[in-house]
């Protein structure tokens, strides 16, 4: 069953939609309360988020740090621009790997949908190249499991570990 959609729009947008079987208030809280965020915003199996700062107010800071427990890790920082409980979040974020990527402007809305919620996340990148680079990063994390399997055949470039 595929409940999520993810597509590019124009040259600089990525739009994700997903239905949840819970009220908008619960889905909004799961996006703004650190104790809840740390349970699901994790990426591939084996990764955890030991640091989760989410100051859910305009100007509030965001900082998520992920680790695989084996020395690999990266973090995201950001700031909230606008919050409308329990229907809309607007923030900017950037990834540090360790160099910061250009800002990703993210608008997330939570709309009643039957007895549940339709979440729509609209990301805006500064340009097409940045969007392509961001998508390639997603590929990198999606491919983690394959990397473990194929690591002996891969070029163990030191650049991958920095």
């Amino acid at each position: 069953m595929s409940k999520m959609t993810l597509k590019t729009e124009g040259d600089t947008h990525v739009v994700v939609t997903r239905h949840f079987a819970a009220a908008p208030e619960a889905v909004y809280r799961a996006h703004t309360e650190p104790a809840l965020i740390q349970k699901w915003l994790l990426g591939p199996d084996g990764w955890t988020m030991p640091v989760c700062i989410n100051e859910a107010r305009p100007g509030g800071k965001i900082r998520y740090e992920w680790t695989n427990g084996e020395g690999a890790g990266f973090y995201v920082t950001g700031e909230f621009l606008e919050l409308v409980p329990f229907s809309r979040l607007v923030h900017v974020e950037r990834m540090h790997m360790p160099d910061a990527t250009p800002d990703n402007h993210v608008e997330t809305t939570f709309a009643p949908d039957g007895t549940g919620t339709l979440m729509t996340m609209r990301m805006t990148l500064p340009d097409a190249a940045t969007r392509a680079a961001m998508l390639s990063t997603g590929m990198e994390h999606g491919m983690e499991a394959s990397y473990v399997r194929l690591e002996t055949t891969l070029d163990a470039s030191p650049a991958l570990n920095h």
């Binding site: 619960a26 809840l36 699901w40 990426g43 340009d127 940045t130 991958l160």
Partner: protein, 107 residues
């Protein structure tokens, strides 16, 4: 058809993925590529050779320059990136389903 193993290895390197992202904007010379990556031209040329061998870029001769552009196979790769991102996000949201179910139970 590109060699899939070669394409996989070629894309395992972040610099080579960044080069493809840059080429998504249009044809580029080695000199233009070397600048934003703070790499020497020989280093960039080695990366381009790997990408070319994997069938991800095409190069032509123009005087002493050899401008490069994305091969159709690379355009497909970028679509693949979308599929991978979709997979990673789906895993997160499936976990969120469980979190939401647990919140409901606690109410």
């Amino acid at each position: 058809m590109p060699n899939l193993d070669a394409a996989f290895s070629a894309l395992a390197d972040p610099t080579r993925r960044a080069i493809l992202a840059r080429l998504a904007l249009g044809e580029t010379t080695v000199m233009e590529l070397a600048e934003p990556f703070e790499m020497t031209q020989p280093a960039i040329s080695r990366h381009l050779k790997v990408l070319e061998g994997a069938g991800l870029i095409l190069r032509r001769v123009e005087g002493t320059k050899r401008p490069c552009r994305l091969a159709p196979a690379a355009v497909n790769e970028i679509d693949q990136w979308l599929a991978m991102l979709r997979q990673a996000l789906s895993a997160n949201y499936n976990r969120l389903d469980d979190v939401l179910a647990a919140m409901k139970t606690e109410e």
